[in-house]
């Protein structure tokens, strides 16, 4: 090895050391922060999730640990992407299923829904987890913006009848927004799809063994 090459190697090692040191320092900073916030973040996420969930199932009746009783289904009848199903039980008896996220195309991008269905097939409710609809038009599906999404609560496949699961403009019973029919239309369809799936698969869904390693908290 020539003198030059030795020199070169020294330079390289020096650079590597400097960067390595800062890598360690940076990583340490982050790791410390992480360990300080980890629990809170998890709790936040759990809380946020449960806040939504308990709008769809009566909190007081749930006796099992919802977040541990989870399965994942991957069925095109339901959604293009895998859907987690959280199973609420009352003293071991099936109480409700929470599907999250059910994905539906929207007007401007995918809409992710959380759908809660009682064991009797009655909708506990529907919530929008995320969407990219137009502010002022399609975004009225957001609970913050209007009550529209609440209109699903208490509905089921027989109430109204299956053929009425449409927006009013198409001959159904659900309101559309003026100037924005597509968004509600898609959501109604997605909810209906979930109900149909529930009807067909509910027993199996309650019976499947829970996943052994349920995620800490759903984070969509």
């Amino acid at each position: 090895m020539g003198e030059e090459q030795k020199q070169m190697l020294r330079e390289i090692l020096l650079s590597a050391t400097i960067l390595g040191v800062f890598g360690i320092l940076g990583a340490a900073l982050v790791a410390i922060t992480w360990s300080a916030t980890e629990e809170r973040i998890a709790a936040n996420q759990r809380e946020m999730f449960l806040r939504n969930v308990y709008k769809l199932v009566p909190k007081e009746q749930v006796t099992n640990e919802l977040l541990k009783d989870v399965i994942t289904v991957n069925d095109p009848r339901l959604s293009a992407r895998p859907v987690r199903v959280y199973r609420a039980r009352h003293d071991g008896k099936p109480l409700a299923l929470i599907f999250s996220p059910v994905e539906s195309p929207g007007y401007a991008g995918p809409i992710r829904l959380m759908v809660g269905i009682g064991a009797d097939g009655v909708l506990g409710g529907v919530r929008v987890l995320s969407h990219q609809e137009t502010p002022g038009l399609g975004d009225k599906i957001d609970e913050q913006k209007s009550d529209w999404i609440l209109s699903f609560s208490g509905k089921s496949l027989g109430n109204p009848p299956v053929e009425k699961w449409k927006v009013k403009k198409d001959g159904g019973i659900f309101d559309q927004f003026t100037g924005a029919t597509i968004t509600p239309r898609k959501i109604v369809a997605a909810v209906k799809r979930t109900l149909l799936y529930f009807q067909q698969e509910k027993d199996r869904l309650f019976k499947l063994p829970a996943e052994t390693n349920p995620p800490n908290a759903p984070n969509h």
Partner: protein, 193 residues
């Protein structure tokens, strides 16, 4: 197959990174004074973005996720990007001096282009697989280059227009970008409906 085409259409037109998603705006405003430079920047970005999108996918799936280090994503990705940029520069310098001369000056700029980090992060957020990640990065870069070149051509014209004094320069450029973004809204809904 059509799914992949959809990713391309979506990233290039419907969810154009610059005009709709607001990523990579600094180079969009900064390197669009001349058409030729804009083309060079577009090319360089396309290369780096695709490569770093893939590389960060690999780091994420093979390193961070198995080790449970998702929270280190930002640091890991930015390091990866810096490596890719540097690496590109090296390779280019060695193998194609001509290309290097054209694109060389843009490479350092790309490190701080947030479209690059944005693509890496969005890839994990959208849970793209390998091919999807590559396409997503490529599409985003093509979309970036497309609007960059069009924008540069318009700016060359606007530069010699009789723009009122307070609006000369950046102000009118931003307004032009706004009008472009408005025009791009015409593509919304193309993919999902």
């Amino acid at each position: 197959m059509s799914e992949y085409a959809l990713i391309l259409v979506s990233t290039v037109l419907v969810n154009n990174f610059v005009l709709v998603k607001f990523l990579g705006l600094c180079p969009f405003m900064g390197v669009s004074r001349k058409l030729e430079t804009a083309m060079g920047m577009g090319l360089a970005t396309t290369f780096v973005l695709t490569l770093s999108s893939v590389a960060s996918y690999l780091v994420n799936t093979w390193m961070l996720e198995p080790l449970g280090l998702e929270y280190m994503r930002t640091i890991a990705f930015i390091l990866v990007i810096a490596v890719v940029v540097q690496f590109t520069e090296m390779v280019m310098h060695k193998t194609s001096p001509v290309l290097y001369q054209v694109l060389g000056i843009f490479l350092p700029l790309i490190t701080t282009n947030c479209a690059v980090l944005g693509v890496a992060l969005l890839n994990t957020q959208e849970q793209h697989n390998f091919v999807e990640s590559a396409l997503y990065g490529f599409g985003a870069a093509v979309g970036f280059s497309l609007v960059l070149v069009l924008f540069a051509a318009i700016r060359e014209r606007v530069n010699v227009a009789d723009v009122p004094e307070p609006f000369k320069g950046n102000a009118i450029a931003l307004i032009t970008a706004g009008l472009m973004s408005m025009a791009f809204m015409g593509f919304s809904g193309l993919v999902s409906s």
